[in-house]
Structures are given as structure tokens and as C-alpha cells.
């Protein structure tokens, strides 16, 4: 389970980061994120700053079942997956090249190690020896190359991985460039990028990047023919009802023995009060997430609270591509500045987080740059709307009908109303809301935590980003993003981040009021980990 990178070959930037850490310039978490992204193992990274790596949980007992309340959405082709919940089911048998751990480090899973050259254009990936698929075949460099081809295929509609490897893709054919991913030998793969890219490692660890077998038919449901390298296989996946993972028979998992015998996902809808009820009646042992008022209720049941501070957030954004109301930058800015993040955090999320700065970069990101604080002034909204001839226009803000999404949006609506705008709050159930999430003129969207700030920003705010929900198309922003994505060194990238953050804030598309601390609860007697990206790394779970 430990990474065997040679300490002698530590990336030069890593030593530099160690000095920065010693000088107090960066936090331990930032240090770990940056150095492990450069291919330094977690153990070596801890070693660089003179700490011992935290050992895996104390002696775990083997056996037992854990029942988790989570929506069961049915599995799809991993690269099309649009929910961490989908991935948490196929994570039982499909593994990743690299894993992002809850402490902010990157760990090789199907890769034993990786190395980046100084300007992050060439990555050398070492395949972990001794890994087998559960049909008995060995896992080799060919599997890695084949999966890169799958990920880079931009001709597949909805491929979440396609825009993540710009340096590997041939823009004419929208697929993997000849010579971009080279098999050096059976155990080594080399990535030759046409441009430097710092997000390769985090991208390989994100939930759509699960590695599938050669027999997998693109676009099919992976649970039908579950060939994977992981310790479990799906026994049952009933959409909307339950999913059961059991140990893969006749399969020796490279990681040893995963403690739990079975993992049951039980879908009881999205109503958190039902979840509290289930916890009280001993129908579940852990939940996917606890939000808002329900944190106290779950605490009161005597369950263990799992908390993690993250860059997960909610963005209440306008869309200029689908609505004429928000084409005027002055209007957007006035709306943004009429909403005080402190109030939203308190009313919408019970102060269970920290305020953000309307630019979607969080202090936990290594390249975060501090901007001068914004001045909020609700009194300027009315004149701005009048100037744009929108004094009587109805502003409709759409959100989910429940949870913190609804309360946060309501807090934004209330402040805009107080500022004199004609605002209407429309709620929708989750089953219909997400069908059109990118299209709504003004709505709230939850964003998961990602290890680097440039990751969400490039997905959401560049003109070509696959999750662009604002209609923002700013050439300067796009150019600065290209530069930022070529700088392996976070300090160098920070200079670009100042530009990116300033433009994003100034465009006024988003009201991004706070960073969420994420919570979940687990019954006494179970070891379950809360992950900042909602990943369920089942092999770390156990029954005490």
C-alpha cells in the first residue's frame, strides 16, 4: 500500500516546497498536495518535512457488513459518470491509477510511482507489478495506454475526461495524439504532452477516471460484466433501491485483504429527515453526507461525526447564454455585491464553513492568491437595474427543493429582495433539477472539492469548459488559464491566479458565498472515512 518512490530522485520542486513549509509559507496540507502531485510519495513527502507518515488505521478486524445510506443512481460508463455516488458503486471493482487521499496527498494505486520532468510536460508512469484483473489476467502498461485513449476521446458526447488532457489530444481528430502516450515497456508508460499540464495527477484521481478492462464495451453499464482489479464485485445494483458489493470470488487483490465482507448502499431518497429516522431505527450504519440542521440531530443519536474542511462549495450563478437579463456586466456585479456572504453562510449553512470571495479559489488550494476584500453594498442594486432598464424584470432563481441548496438560495433571494429587486425563488426536486442544470438563467449548483483551484475553474469558467454554466467567455481568462495550466510550480501559478480570480470576480457571474465543511456520520463500532471529494475508499473501511 505504500508508494516506493526513490527518495534520491525527489522532484527538485519538492525540496523547494519543503523549504517553504519550514519557512511557514505554506501549510502542511498544501505542502503534501503540491509535492505528491509531482510524484513524491506520501511517505517521502512527510519525510521531507521531518514527520512520520500517519500509519494506516490500527489493527483492523476482517469481516462484517456496513450499510450506507446513499442514492443508488445506477452505474454508467465511468467516463460518462456525472455523480460521485455512481462512482462509489463501481469503485468496488474498478480502481484508479492514482488516488487522492483525505489528507490531501496523492497515492499511486495501479501505478507504483510517477515522475514529472521540470516543466511538467513529460510524465513517466510506473505500473504496479503484481496487479491482476479479477478474471486472472495481469494488469500491464497496455491497459494504461488503452484507458488513456478512452479518456482522451472527445468524440464521445458527455465524456468528462475528454477536456482534462489537452496536452495529449490531437485537436483535429479530437482523440489521443499519435505518440502522446507511449508504452516504454510492459511496466512503464510515458506521457509526452504538447503543453505542460499540472492537473494530470489530480485528473487521474478524479471519479470518472476509473480504469476498465479491455473487454469493457464503451458506453455500457460496467456492473453487467464487472471485470476490474478491485477487491469487490457488485452482487446487485437496483436503481433507486440498493447496491450490494461483495468480495470478488477467486480473486487475489493486490492490496491484500479488504476488511469488510460486504458493503450495502441503501437508497432512501434524498430527504435527510428519513436518513435520521433510519439511523435511529438501526437500518443503516453510516451515511453519505449529513447537512444543515441534521448534523445536530445525528450527533444527538450518539453517532460519530466525521468532519472535513474542503473546497466544496455552492455557486449561485447567472447565465448570460440562456437569459438576456444577465448580459450586462454592471447588472451582474450589482447582484453579486448585493449579497453578503457572511449572511448567506449563517442563514444558509448554519456557519458550518468559511466565507468565500466570489472567485471559486479556496485558501486550501496550493495556488490560492489573496485578493483585496470586496465591499458589499445592497443599495447599488436598484440603480443598476434601473440603468439597465430591468427595474421591473422578474429575476427567477432556481434551486433544489431541499437541504442547504434550498436554504442558501433562499438567503440569496431574501437579500436581493431586501435590496429592492423583483426576485422569485423556484424549487425543483433533484430528479428534475439536474436535467437542465447548465441551462437555467439563474440557479444554484453545488461544486465538489477538487485538489487544485485551476481544476474547477478550467471546467466551469473557460469558454470551452465542459461544465460552463454561466455562459462566461472571456478571452483574457482563457489565456491566463492556459498559462496557469502550464506552470508546475504553484508559486509561479499564483501570479496567473491573481488574474484569473480578479477576472472571475469582476465578471460578476457567480455568487459563491462560502466553502463547506463536509460532514457525515457513522455508528460507533465502524471505521468509515470522510473524504473531501465524497470518495468511498472501501478498502480503508472496517468494522471495529
Amino acid at each position: 500500500m505504500t508508494n516506493t518512490n526513490r527518495a534520491a530522485a525527489v522532484h527538485p520542486a519538492a525540496t523547494m516546497h519543503a523549504e517553504e513549509f519550514a519557512a511557514g509559507k505554506i501549510s502542511r496540507r498544501e505542502f503534501l498536495t503540491r509535492t505528491t502531485a509531482l510524484g513524491v510519495s506520501a511517505a517521502a513527502a512527510y519525510g521531507l518535512i521531518g514527520l512520520a507518515a500517519p500509519s494506516e488505521a490500527q489493527a483492523q478486524t476482517t469481516g462484517g457488513i456496513v450499510r450506507v445510506a446513499m442514492e443508488v443512481k445506477g452505474t454508467k460508463d465511468p467516463r460518462l459518470a456525472d455523480w460521485p455516488q455512481i462512482a462509489n458503486v463501481y469503485r468496488g471493482w474498478l480502481e484508479y491509477l492514482i488516488q487522492y487521499n483525505a489528507d490531501g496527498t496523492f497515492e499511486g494505486r495501479l501505478l507504483e510511482s510517477w515522475e514529472a520532468n521540470a516543466d511538467a510536460t513529460v510524465y513517466t508512469l510506473k505500473v504496479r507489478p503484481g496487479v491482476t484483473w479479477n478474471n486472472g489476467e495481469a494488469f500491464t502498461a497496455d491497459d494504461v495506454v488503452r484507458n488513456f485513449a478512452r479518456w482522451a476521446d472527445g468524440n464521445v458526447e458527455g465524456n468528462a475526461m475528454a477536456s482534462r488532457f489537452p496536452g495529449l489530444v490531437d485537436t483535429a481528430t479530437k482523440s489521443l495524439r499519435e505518440g502522446a502516450v507511449v508504452k516504454v515497456d510492459d511496466m512503464t508508460v510515458q506521457l509526452n504532452m504538447s503543453e505542460s499540464d499540472v492537473a494530470v495527477v489530480p485528473n487521474l484521481s478524479d471519479y470518472p477516471a476509473a480504469v476498465v478492462h479491455a473487454s469493457f464495451v464503451d458506453g455500457e453499464d460496467p456492473s453487467v460484466n464487472p471485470i476490474g482489479t478491485g477487491p469487490y464485485i457488485p452482487q446487485e445494483v437496483s436503481v433507486g433501491q440498493k447496491a450490494v458489493l461483495v468480495r470478488a470470488p477467486n480473486h487475489t487483490w493486490w492490496g491484500g485483504t479488504a476488511p469488510l465482507d460486504e458493503i450495502h448502499y441503501i437508497d432512501f431518497g434524498t430527504d435527510p429527515s428519513t436518513m435520521v429516522n433510519l439511523a435511529a431505527s438501526d437500518e443503516i450504519d453510516a451515511n453519505y453526507e449529513t447537512t444543515g440542521d441534521f448534523i445536530e440531530q445525528m450527533d444527538a443519536l450518539g453517532w460519530k461525526k466525521l468532519e472535513i474542511v474542503t473546497a466544496a462549495t455552492i455557486v449561485v450563478r447567472m447565465n448570460s447564454a440562456t437569459s438576456d437579463l444577465y448580459k450586462d456586466k454592471a447588472v451582474r456585479q450589482a447582484i453579486q455585491l448585493a449579497v453578503d456572504p457572511k449572511v448567506v453562510l449563517e442563514l444558509g449553512y448554519n456557519n458550518l464553513g468559511t466565507t468565500a470571495e466570489n472567485h471559486h479559489a479556496c485558501p486550501v488550494h496550493p495556488e490560492y492568491a489573496a485578493l483585496p476584500p470586496q465591499t458589499f453594498d445592497a443599495s447599488k442594486l436598484k440603480p443598476a437595474l434601473e440603468a439597465a432598464g430591468l427595474a421591473d424584470a422578474e429575476i427567477e432563481i432556481i434551486s433544489l427543493d431541499d437541504g442547504f441548496e434550498a436554504t442558501t438560495t433562499a438567503a440569496v433571494v431574501a437579500q436581493l429582495k431586501d435590496a429592492g429587486a423583483n426576485v422569485k425563488h423556484t424549487v425543483m426536486p433533484g430528479s428534475t433539477f439536474w436535467n437542465d442544470w447548465q441551462k437555467y438563467p439563474f440557479s444554484s449548483t453545488t461544486w465538489n472539492h477538487r485538489p487544485l483551484a485551476v481544476q474547477n475553474m478550467s471546467l466551469a469558467y473557460t469558454s470551452t469548459g465542459s461544465w460552463n454554466e454561466t455562459g462566461m467567455a472571456n478571452a483574457d481568462f482563457d489565456a491566463a488559464m492556459v498559462k496557469a495550466l502550464s506552470l508546475a510550480d504553484a508559486d509561479a501559478r499564483r501570479e496567473q491566479m491573481v488574474t484569473l480570480e480578479t477576472i472571475l470576480q469582476d465578471e460578476g457571474y457567480i455568487i459563491q458565498p462560502y466553502w463547506r465543511s463536509l460532514f457525515a456520520h457513522v455508528k460507533e463500532g465502524f471505521n468509515v472515512e470522510r473524504h473531501p471529494s465524497n470518495e468511498h475508499q472501501h478498502y480503508k473501511w472496517s468494522k471495529a
Binding site: D82, N159, A160, V239, F268, A280, W434, N435
Partner: protein, 359 residues
């Protein structure tokens, strides 16, 4: 009698036909098809890709033609996708289209593929109907005896204190819709923070944190998980049937022959049990049969509230996800249940009351 039954069956087919067409038309409105494409393909698809997806998956062409395919009077669609794999309504991907039947609609017994459950409609719908059947059975077991007893006790002596108390109860429960009574019951009996459960738990009267469960699963039906859903549906019906029984009972109790029996010295108990009861039960019988369609209505609310995966829950997810075939299947089942129970009620009526002739 036979003509009557045949006519009723004809009516049933016509209703099913009309209803399914309406449902088909509504679920096939362009925005609904786009929604389906996004949930089936990926939320990240472009508009062009969505339009292509709709055509590739057999949702192009005229609504009537597609409805005909579902019925099985128009040959099922088929095409070849960009990778050269033939796809179609009547065969699974990867099988030989030459072997597939030309028609595969409801008339051929093919209920289609459910996009939500990712499987054929019929077995899924059957399983969910079974789960709802169990719920309905328990509702009937609780509801019928309780309501008849309340109705008879109240109607025996019109205007007495018993009558007033029971009538008040009946009116109160009938006037409370399921979505109110269900929430009240959960808050009162199945919440670890409010209602009776925290008190009982504090006093050590219950082991767990809550008295009853606020969610029920067809896999594991227990007294503790089933009480609240059953009670929620039954309460509404109890009040209604009891009111009808009471009205019928008071009418019978004022009839000439009851007075005659009383004057001849027959005991009150004997009069009620021997002479009044049978005649008083004719009206409630129809009402009980009429409750079946109402129950279908009630299970939609209750199954959603208690997360019980039955017919009502299926209807909600089918509508929420625009699962065309599943929704059509639900419509056929609903028409069938409603009209069959009405048929049984009409026939049963004849046996209870010889004065009524059918046709």
C-alpha cells in the same frame, strides 16, 4: 349479465387506449424527450447531441407512429449507430436483428424497456405491484373491520353519545388527507427528536431511539416498519366508510320491519345482528370497492413519504425521470385495477340486493 361484463371489458380497453395515448403524448413532448436524453446519455451533452440521441433511440418521427410501435401495430424502429452496431426496439444491442420480430408492442406482450430501472418493464412493474399488494392487503385488513364496527356502533342509536364521539372521529380522519396524517404520524411516533419517541426512550420503555420506523422496505416487512404506512392510508378510508355505514345503519334502524321486530319483543342485540346488519352492509360494500381506486391514489403519497418501493413510488420515479414505457405500463395497470374492482362491485351488488338487475 354476460353482455354487461363484455360491455364493461370493452369500456376498459377503450379507457386504457385513451389514457395511454394521453400519457404517451405528454411524455413525448420535445422538452421531456430532451430531459430523457440528458439523464440517459449525460448531463454534459450538447444540444445537437441531444437531438441526435432522440432520433437514434427511436424517439424521432410522428407521435402516432411511435404510439403505434408501443401498441404493436406499427413495426418497431431500428437503425445502425455510428459504430455500425444495429439497434432497435425489438432486439437487444448485439443480437441479430434478422431474428427479431417485426412488431413488439403491448399487443405482442412486450411492455418495453424501462430507462430508469434499466431493464424490461413487466418484471419490474410486477414486483412493485406485489409490494403494493401486500401494503393494500394490510390496509384492507385494518380498514374494513374497523370502519364497519365504528359505523355500526355509531348508527345503532342515532344521536347517542357513542354516535357523536365516533362520528367526530370519522369526520376528522376523512377530512385529513394522507399527506397531512402521514407527516403528523411520523412526527409524533417515528422521530428521534420530536413526539412520543424521545419521551418513551427516556423512560426506558423502548430499546431504540424511535417507536415506529419512518421508512418501510418490501424486503423486510415488520410490525414496526409497516404500522405507520398502513395506518396513514387506512385512517382516511376508515372515516369515510364508517360514515357511509352509519348512514346506512341509521336508515335501516328506522325501517318498519325493525320497529315491528322491536314491538314483538325481540332484544336489541338480536335486532341489530339478525335483522339490521345484512341490509345495512349493501351500501358500504360499494363504497369499499370504490376505495380501491382511492387507495391507488393514497399509495402514491404514502409510498413516497415512507420510501416504500411499490407501485406508487414507481409511478413517481417514472414520471420524475420521464420513463415513457414504465409510465405507460403504470397507466395500463391503473386502468385495469380501477375498472376490474368496479366490475366486481357491480356484480357483487346483484348478489347482495336481488332487486337490482344488471343491463
Amino acid at each position: 349479465m354476460l353482455i354487461f361484463v363484455v360491455r364493461r371489458l370493452g369500456l376498459m380497453l377503450l379507457s386504457a387506449f385513451v389514457l395511454t395515448f394521453v400519457v404517451f403524448y405528454l411524455t413525448n413532448l420535445p422538452p421531456n424527450l430532451e430531459k430523457l436524453a440528458r439523464s440517459e446519455g449525460s448531463v454534459r451533452m450538447t444540444d445537437e447531441a441531444v437531438a441526435q440521441w432522440i432520433i437514434d433511440n427511436g424517439h424521432g418521427g410522428s407521435v402516432l407512429g411511435r404510439y403505434g410501435q408501443w401498441l404493436g401495430v406499427v413495426p418497431g424502429w431500428s437503425n445502425v449507430d455510428e459504430k455500425g452496431v444495429p439497434r432497435g426496439r425489438c432486439f437487444a444491442a448485439g443480437t441479430d436483428p434478422a431474428l427479431a420480430p417485426r412488431y413488439c408492442g403491448i399487443l405482442q406482450g412486450d411492455w418495453g424497456y424501462s430507462t430508469y430501472f434499466r431493464g424490461p418493464v413487466l418484471p419490474n412493474l410486477g414486483e412493485k405491484l406485489g409490494a403494493t399488494g401486500i401494503l393494500m392487503l394490510w390496509v384492507m385488513i385494518v380498514m374494513i373491520p374497523t370502519s364497519l364496527l365504528i359505523g355500526i356502533l355509531a348508527g345503532m342509536r342515532e344521536g347517542s353519545r357513542t354516535d357523536r364521539v365516533l362520528s367526530t372521529f370519522s369526520i376528522a380522519t376523512t377530512a385529513t388527507p394522507e399527506y397531512v396524517s402521514g407527516v403528523v404520524l411520523v412526527a409524533l411516533l417515528a422521530s428521534p427528536v420530536t413526539g412520543l419517541s424521545p419521551l418513551l426512550s427516556e423512560w426506558g420503555l423502548i430499546d431504540g431511539k424511535i417507536l415506529f420506523q419512518g421508512a418501510a422496505s418490501p424486503d423486510r416487512i415488520t410490525f414496526w416498519s409497516f404500522t405507520l404506512p398502513v395506518l396513514t392510508i387506512a385512517l382516511y378510508g376508515i372515516g369515510y366508510i364508517a360514515r357511509m355505514t352509519r348512514a346506512s345503519m341509521t336508515e335501516v334502524m328506522t325501517a318498519q320491519y325493525i320497529r315491528t321486530a322491536r314491538l314483538k319483543g325481540v332484544g336489541f342485540r338480536q335486532v341489530v345482528l339478525r335483522h339490521a346488519l345484512r341490509n345495512a352492509l349493501i351500501a358500504p360494500f360499494t363504497v369499499i370497492m370504490l376505495q380501491f381506486p382511492w387507495l391507488l391514489n393514497g399509495v402514491v403519497i404514502v409510498e413516497t413519504l415512507f420510501n416504500y418501493k411499490g407501485f406508487g413510488w414507481t409511478l413517481v420515479v417514472a414520471a420524475g425521470n420521464n420513463d415513457i414505457n414504465l409510465l405507460l405500463g403504470c397507466s395500463v395497470v391503473a386502468v385495469f385495477v380501477v375498472l376490474v374492482t368496479q366490475l366486481i362491485s357491480d356484480i357483487g351488488y346483484v348478489f347482495l340486493n336481488p332487486r337490482i338487475r344488471l343491463s
